[in-house]
């Protein structure tokens, strides 16, 4: 298959190196536009006042926490099935970034909950399943770190990631399945008059921050993957021949 060429660490390493500055630059520009629209242009919410502006960091982070988990589990599955080195490395690089977004979703949600619900934390379905997601990421990293042989470690961690996939639909549907304190989705819901229930001036910054988060993830994951590739391939000729290692 054509893409297996790019799945070789030797091809991946220099290409990823060229992409990183561009992806990082796009991330910064998008974040600045998103912050400007979210903090200066979007109007005050008639129910939640200014506190709703937390949405622009909270919702993209919560989406990313689930998206990155799926990337990690799918690349783990590919690694298990075809023993492809780069998919093991991708899964491994996803874990700390996914855990970071989960932590941001939990902390920003808690800071939003305090003024709106009167409490930082409640053992409600949405919050608890998101906390379990954080433990799944931590478990993945701990399991990987506990096994010396990196390839065996990756396989064991991939199995854990696959089992944990069950938590993703639980997080997603928790606000529909159970009576939770957490408000239902604002973005996908359609009001009775057939329009989206969120105003375009609020939706635009949310969407831009979401795309920015995607670019951020691409930047961070490629950076981490390159570091892992160097260590895992340290005995290959192409690594020992790299210009950046001379001097």
């Amino acid at each position: 298959m054509w893409f297996t060429k790019y799945a070789a660490p030797v091809i991946f390493y220099p290409i990823a190196g060229k992409f990183i500055p561009w992806l990082g630059g796009i991330t910064l520009v998008l974040m600045l536009i998103g912050l400007y629209l979210g903090l200066f242009v979007a109007p005050t919410d008639y129910q939640q006042g200014e506190s709703y502006r937390i949405i622009f960091v909270h919702v993209p982070s919560a989406w990313m926490s689930m998206f990155i988990y799926m990337v990690m589990a799918i690349s783990g599955a590919i690694a298990l099935a075809w023993k492809t080195k780069l998919s093991e490395i991708l899964a491994s690089a996803c874990a700390p970034i996914g855990a970071s977004f989960t932590l941001i979703a939990l902390v920003s949600g808690s800071l939003w909950g305090k003024p709106m619900w009167g409490t930082y934390w409640a053992w409600d379905a949405r919050l608890t399943s998101e906390l379990i997601l954080l433990f799944l990421y931590i478990g993945f990293m701990a399991l990987e770190a506990s096994i010396d042989d990196p390839r065996r470690a990756s396989r064991a961690a991939a199995i854990l990631a696959l089992v944990g996939v069950i938590n993703i639909p639980i997080i997603h549907f928790s606000v529909e399945w159970w009576n939770t304190l957490h408000q239902p989705a604002s973005v996908s819901s359609i009001s009775k008059v057939g329009k989206p229930s969120i105003h375009p001036s609020m939706l635009a910054p949310l969407f831009i921050m979401f795309i920015a988060a995607k670019f951020y993830f691409a930047t961070a994951v490629l950076m981490r993957m390159r570091a892992i590739v160097l260590l895992r391939e340290r005995h290959s000729h192409w690594v020992t021949g790299l210009e950046e290692l001379k001097s």
Partner: protein, 55 residues
């Protein structure tokens, strides 16, 4: 709109800026950690190579 009003966020300043600040902190820390991992890998590889080829 004046800046004091902007920073107070209608009385929710601590929650809004707390969320934004925490997000910025974690995202920046992640990039620094990734850079650090890469530099560490380069350092290890350089040491490995000098051990292999003594002058």
């Amino acid at each position: 709109m004046n800046w004091a009003e902007f920073f107070s966020m209608g009385g929710y300043g601590i929650y809004v800026w707390g969320s934004y600040g925490f997000t910025a902190l974690v995202l920046v820390a992640n990039i620094i950690a990734a850079r650090h991992k890469k530099q560490k890998a380069v350092k290890i590889l350089k040491q490995m190579m000098t051990l292999k080829q003594p002058k």
